[in-house]
């Protein structure tokens, strides 16, 4: 018998393994197993049966698929198993939805804000995390971490991933829009060089300005008109950005909502459209998932209710929604549940689990209430 015959082998239920697999967790966490794209909770399943496992005999050609195996080493012509172990149970993998709460809280330790931008060099690196640091501390797969960073609009500065202070971002965005109006720049064709130099004059770093452009818009392919400098030469460094109309409208909507939390819908729409740069069209649809509208008598009133402030766990999310309103029409409910993630469960399955659906007549839309 070999010396290693009693290693504590533990069995792991396998789904699809790409074999870039890591177990992650802090000392007080429940361990998870991460492939490059997904995360699974690891559960130990005990068995009351006796489970014996044995490797294939190393020097004999055949694999151990039930051919005559004798667990006693003998020279009497029988095949032998080289070693054996007894298992008390096995580990199962259950896919779980990625949890971005810890990522958000780590990155919020040192927000990138007004003070940061004006400093040339940051003194200490405590509370600052690189990509590798984040993988070490979080229970997320690499793809999920990427997704999380993108959804938080995080930016990498000096090797560290940073969350930019919301007020600061709005400030920078406001300045970009103001400059665009002053210089009559097209919001569909903002020249990176011009925008950056205008804002750098006010003390903002190029990196943050570009991050703002990337968060609220996208790069467009190099337009020839934009690229040709005044002397006629072709300017290859000129990146051009197009701002996303919805983000522009949301920016002004947020300004109105922070000045007053309840608005008569008609008044809001008028004030909103008035504040927008020319050529930009606002519509209440853009505010889905951010405001709720209620009818009081003959008037319609709107108030802020943002999905971003609601819990990400499905049970808690539905509880919060039904606390706000006991009855929901599908059109109103949809933007507040479309981002929910529960592995293996579709939106319909979640609705079935957490709501009761009623439809008085075939013509009226269905109503959802708490279960």
């Amino acid at each position: 018998m070999t010396a290693k015959c009693l290693y504590e082998g533990c069995l792991l239920s396998v789904h699809d393994f790409s074999f870039s697999v890591v177990i992650r967790g802090g000392l007080n966490d429940e361990a998870v197993l991460c492939t490059s794209s997904r995360t699974y909770a690891i559960k130990f399943v005990m068995s009351s049966n006796t489970i014996l496992i044995m490797p294939p005999p190393s020097s004999h050609g055949s694999s151990a698929s039930g051919e005559e195996l004798d667990t006693k080493s003998e020279t009497g012509g029988k095949r032998t198993a080289s070693a054996m172990a007894a298992a008390t149970g096995h580990l199962e993998l259950v896919e779980v939805a990625p949890n971005f709460e810890k990522l958000k809280s780590l990155l919020s330790e040192r927000l990138y804000g007004e003070d940061t931008d004006s400093m040339d060099v940051e003194e200490s690196t405590s509370g600052l995390y690189t990509w590798d640091d984040l993988l070490e501390k979080l229970q997320l797969s690499e793809k999920e971490l990427q997704e999380g960073l993108k959804s938080l609009a995080a930016v990498q500065v000096g090797g560290f991933w940073r969350l930019v202070d919301k007020k600061y971002m709005h400030c920078v965005f406001e300045l970009i829009l103001l400059n665009a109006m002053q210089h009559d720049w097209s919001l569909q064709g903002l020249k990176e060089k011009e925008v950056v130099s205008a804002l750098m004059a006010d003390g903002y770093s190029a990196q943050i300005v570009i991050h703002c452009l990337a968060t609220y818009g996208q790069r467009v392919s190099l337009a020839f008109e934009a690229g040709i400098a005044s002397n006629g030469s072709y300017d290859l460094d000129s990146h051009v950005w197009e701002l996303n109309e919805r983000h522009v409208c949301l920016h002004y909507a947020n300004q109105l909502l922070s000045s007053a939390s309840r608005w008569r819908v008609d008044d809001f729409v008028d004030a909103w459209q008035q504040n927008l740069p020319s050529g930009v069209q606002a519509s209440l649809d853009m505010l889905k998932g951010k405001i709720l509208i209620e009818k009081l008598g003959s008037d319609s009133w709107l108030y802020p209710f943002s999905v971003a402030n609601l819990p990400s766990n499905p049970a808690e999310r539905f509880a919060a929604l039904f606390r706000e309103r006991p009855r929901w029409e599908w059109e109103d409910l949809e933007p507040y549940i479309s981002d929910l993630r529960a592995p293996g469960k579709s939106v319909d399955a979640l609705l079935l689990k957490y709501t009761r659906r009623t439809q008085p007549t075939a013509e009226t839309p269905p109503i959802f209430t708490a279960r």
């Binding site: 009693l6 792991l12 396998v14 006796t50 490797p55 096995h90």
Partner: protein, 133 residues
């Protein structure tokens, strides 16, 4: 904290292990309890023509059959590695008492895959014939 799970062979070449599942507990005779587990032979397993498996333990014979696992299982072995730390990148000043700094990491190595099990769930048959070992 991160623990790497490695498989050196690649999933298609992973060595296949066997798994026997018995309803019951193996007990060691009191007279032999002081001996290490690997000093014992548990029994004798054989497969008949009709894909039936017979496991003979002592004077009991168990009949079982081979079943495919819905989800194959990996056999993992914990490996403790001690890698020398790259002194250049370490911010800690080397103490002269310990000439080589090591970094201890845990890894799980996949050493086998199990796709089938031989399940014995019928009542054991008592063999009273003298031909039993």
């Amino acid at each position: 904290m991160q623990i790497q799970v490695r498989c050196e062979c690649g999933i298609s070449e992973c060595r296949e292990w066997a798994l026997l599942e018995l309803q019951g507990v193996l007990e060691i005779q009191p007279s032999a309890q002081h001996l290490p587990l690997n000093a014992f032979s548990i029994g004798s397993l054989c497969r008949s023509q009709q894909e039936k498996y017979y496991f003979t333990i002592g004077y009991h014979e168990l009949e079982g059959k081979k079943v495919s696992l819905k989800k194959p299982m990996l056999v993992l072995q914990k490996v403790l590695r001690e890698d020398p730390i790259d002194v250049e990148s370490s911010p800690v000043v080397l103490s002269t008492q310990y000439p080589t700094q090591v970094q201890k990491t845990s890894e799980l190595k996949a050493i086998g895959i199990i796709r089938h099990k031989i399940l014995f769930k019928t009542r054991p048959k008592a063999l009273i014939s003298s031909s039993v070992k």
